[in-house]
Amino acid sequence: MSDEEYYKSIGFMCGLELHQRLATSRKLFCDCPTNIIDANGKENGMVSRYQRAIAGELGTVDISAGFEEQRRRRFVYKIPEGRSCLVEIDEEPPHDMNTDALHTVLSFAKAMNMNLVDEIQPMRKAVVDGSDPSAFQRTSMVAFDGFIEVNGQKVEIPSIFLEEESCRAESTKEQEITYEVDMLGVPLVEIDTWPYIRTPKEAKDIALYIGTMMRISGKVQRGIGSVRQDVNVSIKGGARVEMKGLQDIEFVDRYIENEVKRQQELLKIRDELKKRKASVGKVADLTKILKGTKARVVVNQLENKGIVVGFRLESFKGMLGREVLPNRRLGTEISDYAKSAGVKGIIHSDEDLYTYGFTEKEINSITKELKLGKDDSFIMIAGSKENAEKAAQFSIDRANYALIGVPLETRGVINDENYTTRFLRPLPGGSRMYPETDAKPINVTKEMIKAAEIEAPKIESEEAVLTKQLKDKSLAKRMMLSPKLQTYRMIVDSVDEPVFVANILLQRFTELRRAGFDVDSIGDERLIEMFDFYSKKKITKQAVEEILKYLSKKDQTIAAIVKEARLERISGAPLKKLVEEAKKKTKDKGQVIKEIMSTHRLNVDGSELNSLL
């Protein structure tokens, strides 16, 4: 069975939401700069806030918003100096929308054959996880109903949005999340596909294509975090799950494959539980039973006036330990729900309770209290009264869902090598949009449409330009898909050796990366400076690679590196002198070259040397 047939047979549905930060000079709704954060930047201060779930347009509170509100978390915002103003921290109304950002998005829309709306209506999308101090994200639909062609297949693009980047979470404590405000408000384009992507591989190809289209415009930010994919996946009998914030397009397919497997496993678990007529019990207080326990996971909580609660999982025996993703079991899935209520996790009976330090007597008492039969499991949660009770409720809800199948969830990436995800919050419903009354609607004029048509990035013509420069179709394609495309363009503006430049940025970079050199940390300005040295014949080709090694360890001027590593090119008269001296020793041309290169490999240009012989 081909991939395509297999995924069709399991009712695979998959859609992408691609997010890309734009490289405008100022933010979308204020005049703060958008350049990447300076890690050593100073802070102006911090503010802390609480947020509430607000009824949407139809008078109902969105499920994910309601869930977040129940958690009652405190949000702390670190305010960086010079990179955010009162607008970001919700202390001043938005300024006018950044027209540069809008023009870029309009040009992307045109590149994807979309229909532009006549008047853009800024909206507020409720976000209650604190990632926006205003509790909403400003977002506008700019165009709809377009298409692109990927691998000869027509892929429909239903919508493109212009929105604001949210805050970066810096740290998360039990009831408090600290956010960095610097990136908040940077213009972000979102491009969606319909959920008709046929295979994980196709999802990756589409993501790559759209990413390339945006990148060749030269108007998007590069670097870590500047591009993200949200991927929606479901299978027959499963449910829509949104995996949020996948940063590396390379592994999009792996995450999708894993999510498919997770849903398949959850459905198998459901079938088994149904067969066993399993059910979930009610919460019981186990604090008294565990008074004086030595079990470490509980002791601390009890000492801090906490409680222990538990509930029975009838006929669940063995199921909590069933793996649904590499290294993640049904128990882990339930535990994530509990954790979202601010507890450390759950303790369940598919684990070895003795290693936790529970005694047989304690386990027997729990068994009695929860009326456990031999096929039953149970879950215990320790924490403050409020958190433990909330966590128990969340866990019971999730355990009940094991009998239904796959819960609708937003999941986040776990940064391990397994391409797995974990529960973040319930999938938001529809009741989270309302008009942004503080921002004016924007009239899309004929002039704007015309400009968008002219500026629309065209992959085919970009490929042709690169092929002409590099005289090699496959090298051209690799250059076009590379995140270094923009760097390449800037360099070949002044260095007339495109093939050399492309080879350095692609091949050499890959080799050095593999050898452990952090070449991706080298800034464009340094690279331009280095190639400038080269084109002015101050250094040789061989020295270029040497300089990259230096730069990947420490940022310093090329002049300083050249001096420190003695990389000055020996050329003209001094080289002639070297040749003459070598000729005194030998008449053989090959020997002369060998003689000189053995001591001056990095300083002498081979072709110049040849021309002197």
Partner: protein, 442 residues
């Protein structure tokens, strides 16, 4: 509002706001709900809410619009479950008068409507019914820029009547822009005040999850229900964080920022108390305590009082203008210690003749400072003496707005002589004889 052309068309097709419609234009079809048009933006587009929740504007001229079957959305109403009030809790009243604090968007009209019913308010902020047994009154609902002394008088009567019928405290929600004028007015109008009167509002409307309305209202309710302060004051965020609110004397407080949560600051004064959502009240300054007796109202107000800002190049003809208009009082916002130009190169620029003339005609003129912080002084410079010798009342450390309200109130209840005499005499805490070192920019 849609243009007449669009309105006529919609009417002819029987399409109402909220109806499901199909729009075909330039080869594409979209479906969604017809949304109302706000004042902003083009007049020739219709606004459609797509299934995704996004609104888009489509040019009416190019579109073919048809009504679809299906239920129209019913926007605008918020859930109204019954909230139980606990009769054992302290009884307080909440007087709602409009402003950002109670704003909700009406998705049908696109306009903003206030939360009026106690159910709505208590539903939005369930914490309130755990603090006090709350009666909600709404004499009117107006934006604060539109409030006049007539509304101040209404509020004063409403507050007194609530206190006299058993409320141990009163919360007044009000638009923030002119809140410090209202707090000053209530401070003078309410006589023998015997309960905390807590004015509060919001800088972010309560239809957003980040609104400051929630904490402000909760803290205000805590003060009204628990504090023993018998003064009028403003309770708003102490800082930009949702940490605590501060209660500031009604005559010594001012909105010092157009949009920040912590816009209200005490001027030439310390906050009376700090209060947290969970009811911790930290008393910080001197205040009048709750005693016995009935609260009465002295609500007279003379509207012919002006507040004039002195500035470089300003001409004194403005005084003549007001005198000719029949004004009975003028508060000057002088520069520094209380100056007006008295000897400019252009002799006509001196304010001396006009001020002198107005005072002779019986107009009461008070001097405050546009520095807001600090006290005016009639003696330091010769130029100051020239002005004060004309009979201008130097209003100590009183805020210009407070002085303006006070003079209007004095002239509304007393004759000009008495008004002049009382203008720079402390009545309800509007003048501090001492200004503490730590009472600047706080």
């Amino acid at each position: 509002m849609y243009s007449d052309e669009i309105e006529t068309f919609l009417k002819s097709k029987g399409i109402k706001t909220g109806d499901r419609i199909r729009v075909e234009y330039s080869g594409v079809t979209i479906e969604g709900d017809l949304m109302p048009k706000t004042e902003a933006g083009r007049h020739d587009t219709i606004i459609v809410k797509l299934k995704s929740g996004y609104n888009v504007g489509i040019a009416f001229g190019n579109a073919r619009i048809t009504k679809m079957n299906g239920q129209a959305v019913e926007p605008g109403s918020s859930p109204k479950s019954k909230v139980k009030q606990d009769a054992k809790l302290p009884k307080i009243s909440l007087i709602y008068t409009g402003g950002t604090i109670g704003n909700k968007i009406d998705y049908r009209t696109g306009g903003v409507y206030p939360l009026l019913k106690p159910e709505e308010l208590l539903h939005e902020i369930p914490e309130l019914s755990k603090i006090a047994n709350i009666t909600v009154k709404s004499p009117f609902s107006m934006a604060s820029e539109d409030l006049s002394y007539a509304e101040w008088q209404k509020i004063a009567h409403e507050v007194a009547s609530e206190i006299n019928s058993g409320a141990r405290g009163v919360v007044v929600t009000i638009g923030t822009d002119t809140m410090h004028y209202v707090s000053a007015a209530l401070s003078f109008m309410l006589q023998d005040l015997n309960a905390p009167v807590v004015l509060t509002g919001a800088q972010r409307s309560s239809d957003r999850g980040s609104s400051d309305a929630f904490m402000n209202l909760i803290c205000a309710a805590q003060l009204a229900a628990k504090s023993d302060i018998a003064e009028v004051g403003i309770c708003m965020h102490r800082s930009s964080s949702d940490k605590e609110c501060q209660f500031m004397r009604g005559t010594k407080v001012r909105k010092m920022h157009s949009s920040r949560r912590d816009a209200f600051r005490p001027i030439n004064d310390s906050a009376i108390a700090f209060v947290t959502s969970d009811g911790k009240i930290d008393y910080n300054g001197h205040y009048k305590k709750i005693g016995k007796g009935k609260t009465t109202v002295k609500a007279g107000f003379e509207n012919n009082v002006a507040l004039i800002k002195v500035h470089p190049n300003s001409t004194p003809g403005i005084i003549d203008f007001y005198v000719d208009m029949g004004y009975k009082g003028i508060i000057l916002e002088g520069t520094g210690l209380g100056h007006t130009p008295v000897g400019p190169s252009n002799k006509k620029g001196s304010w001396i003749p006009q001020i002198g003339g107005a005072i002779k005609k019986g107009v009461v003129i008070g001097m405050t400072t546009q520095t807001l912080y600090g006290r005016v002084n009639a003696n330091v410079y010769t130029n100051l003496r020239k002005v004060s010798e004309l009979g201008v009342v130097y209003c100590e450390d009183m805020l210009p707005e407070t002085a303006y309200v006070k003079l209007g109130w004095l002239l509304g209840n007393y004759d000009a002589k008495k008004a002049k005499e009382l203008l720079n005499r402390n009545i309800v805490g509007e003048i501090n004889e001492r200004i503490g070192y730590d009472e600047f920019l706080v």
